[in-house]
């Protein structure tokens, strides 16, 4: 079995993950997936699988456009295999081009969105899981170092971490449904924190 390299995983983290919420909402909006018995998740998992099969990602100049195109071709393939759907339900490629070739939102906005998802996910984790996850994801300690520091076994660290990643995956999964993050740019920082926490406190 082909094992993806660390560089490839890092490339995904840097160049693809930030576009996942946009891709997901695009898929959910246009693609009438339910009529062919698929979800956005199916397409996204398959998209990542196809990226993994690439011999190299060096030639990809515009990862955002590339990932949209890949997802779209998977979608087309699924639709063709599923003859129930008439050809009219397929969105035109031109439209896809419009979406995928829009300049990516600026890096700051993307980072804010990524951080928002991350911090929401972190806040939803049980305490021990959260500590382990933050030490690995935010501070970059190795699992062994975390085990040593917290005085727990490496198995326990691994279990907490698995739970933490699953939470983060879940939050990305629901990220496509949210309204565009444009308004967040205005409210980020202290004010946003204050508001969000207040709302939560009074619920």
């Amino acid at each position: 079995m082909h094992t993806p390299s660390g560089e490839f995983i890092a490339w995904l983290a840097r160049s693809i993950i930030p576009h996942e919420p946009a891709l997901r909402s695009w898929l959910q909006k246009r693609a009438r997936l339910d009529r062919i018995g698929l979800t956005a998740d199916d397409i996204i998992q398959e998209t990542y699988a196809r990226l993994t099969r690439l011999a190299s990602v060096e030639h990809i100049r515009d990862p955002r456009a590339y990932v949209f195109r890949t997802a779209y071709s998977i979608l087309l393939q699924e639709i063709r295999q599923n003859r129930v759907v008439s050809i009219e339900s397929i969105e035109s490629l031109e439209e896809l081009d419009l979406v995928s070739q829009e300049p990516s939102p600026d890096r700051v906005l993307e980072m804010t969105q990524e951080m928002r998802i991350l911090s929401k996910a972190i806040n939803s984790m049980p305490k021990k899981c959260r500590i382990v996850f933050v030490l690995r994801k935010v501070h970059g300690y190795s699992q062994r170092e975390i085990a040593k520091q917290l005085g727990i076994s490496e198995n326990t660290v691994e279990t907490h971490l698995a739970r933490g990643v699953k939470k983060l995956m879940d939050f990305y999964q629901s990220s496509g449904i949210e309204p565009p993050a444009a308004s967040d740019r205005l409210n980020s920082g202290e004010i946003r924190n204050g508001k969000r926490r207040e709302v939560r406190g009074h619920r």
Partner: protein, 328 residues
């Protein structure tokens, strides 16, 4: 998430494998099990690399801090650079003084709050002064003598058997021949020595000298006789020396203690309300970024953050019942 029932288990399995791979190399049994799972469905491979990508550590803690905070601060110099530049400046000052006057080997050094300064000494040793510290260097008459007046210094001592390197503070002397160690005055009447390498000898005006080996930390109360000696492991040693890189390393200290550590370095004071004071904090933070620290704490520990004109207040999340403290 309506897909949970159907595909939740793919993600769950993918998350488990991602955490396992992140831990270290798989054994043969595990590798076979992973291959089996991956070959079952091409989406499994996709879910796995996605989980792995989500586990990749953030490039730095800075990424975790909202950009607006970063931009309202004065340009954020990276600590090692800052330290390096300060050291370079100190070297210039020192060399200049040395050329100017024969008494240049008698000099006083001082750091402002938040400043960490690396001072190369003429014998090849290096003194790194931590925040708000003051030391006199006296290399005249064939001696190597440093008087730590306040604060903390890290000393990397060049070997010279003929000239012992002595750091004095109050009634104590800390003597080294070729080693690296920290001397800190936590309060007016106490002394803390951490030995990173080699051996040092702590001498008192009246009393036997005390020998400390690498990894040892001694706390001496100047009024009290018995020193408290602990042995630090590599991790703790790194933590004790983190300030040299402009970092504060926390491994389960209380929020109160962590705030005190940041307040040593910054004019923006962090205040912690009693309700959250005993929460434990972990992580590796920039010493000169109390706002960043407070934000990470707020995001990860269910603590609320309030920024006032005087500083930062960390307090419990908005109370479900009316708050007793009417400051908030």
């Amino acid at each position: 998430m309506e897909n949970d029932g159907k595909y939740g288990d793919i993600d769950e399995e993918a998350a488990r494998w991602a955490a396992r791979i992140d831990r270290g190399p798989l054994n043969q049994t595990e590798e076979r099990a992973l291959d089996r799972w991956l070959s079952g469905n091409s989406r499994h491979q996709g879910a796995l690399v996605r989980a792995q990508a989500l586990l990749v550590p953030c490039e730095s803690v800075d990424r975790y801090i909202s950009p607006d905070v970063v931009s309202t601060r004065s340009p954020r110099a990276k600590s090692p650079w800052l330290t390096g530049l300060a050291g370079l400046a100190a070297a210039f000052v020192f060399a200049f003084m040395f050329l100017q006057s024969p008494s240049a080997d008698d000099a006083a050094f001082q750091t402002a709050r938040g400043e960490v300064r690396r001072v190369p000494l003429e014998d090849g040793s290096v003194m790194t002064l931590n925040t708000a510290s003051k030391a006199d260097v006296d290399f005249r008459n064939g001696q190597r003598s440093i008087h730590l007046i306040s604060g903390e210094g890290f000393f990397e001592v060049a070997h010279d058997a003929a000239r012992p390197f002595v750091v004095s503070a109050d009634d104590y002397t800390v003597k080294a021949i070729g080693t690296a160690f920290v001397v800190r005055k936590p309060t007016e009447h106490s002394l803390l020595v951490v030995v990173q390498e080699g051996i040092v000898e702590i001498g008192r005006k009246n009393g036997d000298p005390l020998r400390l080996e690498a990894g040892a930390m001694a706390e001496v109360n100047l009024r009290d006789l018995a020193p408290r000696i602990t042995t630090l492991d590599g991790e703790q040693l790194t933590q004790e020396l983190a300030w040299r890189e402009g970092k504060i390393a926390l491994t389960g200290e209380t929020l109160e203690a962590a705030a005190a550590a940041f307040n040593r370095y910054n004019n923006i004071a962090i205040e912690v309300t009693p309700e959250v004071a005993q929460r434990e904090v972990v992580g590796w933070y920039s010493a000169n970024d109390p706002v960043g620290f407070a934000k990470v704490v707020a995001e990860t520990m269910d603590v609320d953050i309030e920024i006032t004109a005087h500083g930062i207040i960390l307090k419990p999340l908005a109370c479900s019942e009316p708050c007793k403290d009417d400051r908030f």
